[in-house]
Symmetry: C2
Subunit: 378 residues, 2 copies
């Protein structure tokens, strides 16, 4: 293993361990002080070592978004896992296998899925622990918590012979589209309000339906929420371990809280632009917070890492597969072979393009951890 | 291995082998009939089996865009490889190692890189075969072929003790931004014109500088070029093996020529939208040909694969990490668990998210081939 950041072949994914440890500790403290369980979403990092740090800091379990994540974390000894994407029938068998190793909860929001899962669970003689996905305004997935259908679906789960109704789960992903800290706070309030009200309605409908888990989730809303209402039992932030330029633009963290960055090399110097070796396969084509910052480009080039400043004259203007195009304003003294450190627009998608994190303290590389980005396609 | 497409867990990457064989044969025939060598860019597929098909059909070598691609194809017996991204000093050593196994050419466009490579080649006693990258209007990388600096840089390479000047290389990547077939044709003409003129200027400067390789590139320009001028020695298309929705929108292929698609599952059904399990990690966030089709979304959902028709009422409107959001116009009868087949906006970036291709003939899965998307980060 290379000993110094400057010796790594680029593009390379770097994790600043001291900063990340702070992020992990701060979120665990917030959960603890507010009396909620912390179930971090590991889709951001897909890394056993980081998951173990989160567990050691006090996480009671983890959240995953693919069967492969469930499997590799189960194999690594994680016992309490929520698979937080609406379950599809093609995944029933693989999830059933993973449940032999671990206490896994699955997510549903549609009566047809519940019916198919009910059949499968009886035929395979397997008990499935089921959460009901709730739409808290994100309008991606989830039942309308104000509807009769939502109560009926919870009842249908609870009545099924081999399904256990464990509770309700929401994700305020629309917080990423907010235009101000105040708007994130309003979304955070609404997410809690709607879940508390729905939990009460379920209990009022039938005491069997009182949800043991009332889970909320996004990094922006839990970062900015000042407290959590009593009925909320757990939070599921993911991005907070790394943060990224989107979180900075939203106002939910500062530049110095970003712990994941990419080291790139300058491979071309021209009169009006630079080219780096960090293209779309190194940064992802996530456009980032364009609703907040017109110049968000495809990530930001760091000027001074310890001060947390950005190179204002350098904009990553477009990406092709292995080339990053950097528009230049003003003077610079960069030449081929020089290194740039880039903070991504969206850490989760950028991390998904690497096989390892190089764990760094200042300029030293102290470890190398695997990123489990493979697919389960056997 | 699963026997039928419908048995595969989604998202899964499918390659229609009969259609792909046609694309491979047609391009090989075009190169042969026009008297140019074919050096396909394997960054599109990153797959040994597909590279071997291209070689068998007549390719004289391959083009790669990362050291890992160079390494895995070299290990698989490919002998003639061009690494077509401007070389950076951090990759000198690894390229030198790979050159022990294969005849590799590297690309430069900057005198500083040439100086550093000259030093490295003498210190390591290794001969590097060098191509000069030419800007043919793409304005990404490359020297200005009309400049004195370009001639001087070629001279500097030729004079270096351990560098061998092999020729010139261009890539008309700006063809992807064209607004019509006519515009792609004009770009194709210009790419050839500028290379032929520069080759002559090099020979006029010094007969030692006459380029043995005069290489041009992009799939759109070589698909639409009616012929190749005599001085052009090779073409390097990559995307043509798969094609994608961008090529269709450009008018460089038809829907039935797209050979790579993604099978997704419906995981949510709501009044105004669907959700699938093909998110940003399954399709990539490439926006595709937005300059040509406002509704290009993040890929297109197929209505009838054999007819090559698209579901006009279903638009992949946004992607989060593992969720694909589909806006619905009009009626549909889809329910959770139903399968959708999606053609990507940009095959190269989508393929880079999978570990295997499932090779299919109609509904049968006949093979499974590895995609070498890993990074060389030892």
């Amino acid at each position: 293993m290379k000993e110094r950041v400057s010796d790594l072949m680029s593009p390379a994914g770097l994790v600043d361990i001291e900063r990340m440890d702070c992020n992990i500790r701060d979120m665990a403290t917030k959960a603890d002080e507010n009396g909620v369980l912390l179930r971090p979403h590991v889709k951001t990092h897909k890394c056993i070592e980081i998951g173990k740090k989160q567990e050691k800091a006090g996480a009671t379990g983890i959240t995953v978004s693919t069967p492969l994540e469930a499997l590799v974390f189960a194999d690594a000894g994680f016992k309490d896992i929520t698979y937080a994407v609406p379950l599809a029938p093609d995944k029933f068998s693989v999830i059933q296998e993973i449940m032999k190793k671990t206490n896994l909860k699955v997510l549903v929001d549609n009566p047809i899925t519940v019916e198919l899962l009910d059949n499968f669970s009886r035929e395979s003689n397997t008990e499935f622990r089921v959460l009901l996905k709730v739409n808290c305004g994100n309008n991606r997935a989830g039942v309308d918590p104000k509807s009769q259908q939502a109560l009926r679906l919870a009842g249908k789960i609870a009545q099924a012979q081999k399904l256990e109704f464990k509770g309700i789960l929401a994700h305020a992903g629309h917080s990423y589209a907010a235009r101000s800290v105040e708007e994130v706070r309003r979304i955070a309030d609404y997410e809690q309000e709607i879940m508390v009200t729905f939990a009460k309605a379920l209990k009022a409908e039938n005491t069997d339906l009182e949800p043991r888990t009332v889970s909320i989730g996004s990094t922006p809303t839990v970062q900015l929420a000042e407290s959590f209402r009593e009925a909320i039992t757990e939070i599921r932030p993911g991005n907070y371990v790394f943060n990224d330029y989107t979180q900075v633009a939203l106002g939910t963290c500062e530049l110095k809280d970003i712990t994941f960055s990419i080291q790139a090399s300058v491979i071309g110097v021209y009169s009006d632009r630079l080219v780096t070796d960090a293209g779309a396969t190194a940064l992802s084509k996530d456009r980032g917070p364009t609703h907040l910052r017109e110049d968000s480009g495809y990530g930001k080039i760091i000027k001074n890492y310890s001060e947390g400043s950005i190179e204002e004259g350098l904009t990553i203007s477009s990406l092709s597969q292995e080339h990053g195009n950097v528009a230049v304003e003003g003077e610079h003294h960069l030449r081929p072979g020089d290194r740039l450190r880039i903070i991504p627009n969206h850490s989760c998608l950028t991390a998904n393009l690497y096989d390892h994190y190089f764990i760094v303290k200042d300029e030293r590389v102290i470890d190398k951890w695997e990123i489990h980005r493979k697919r389960l396609d056997e």
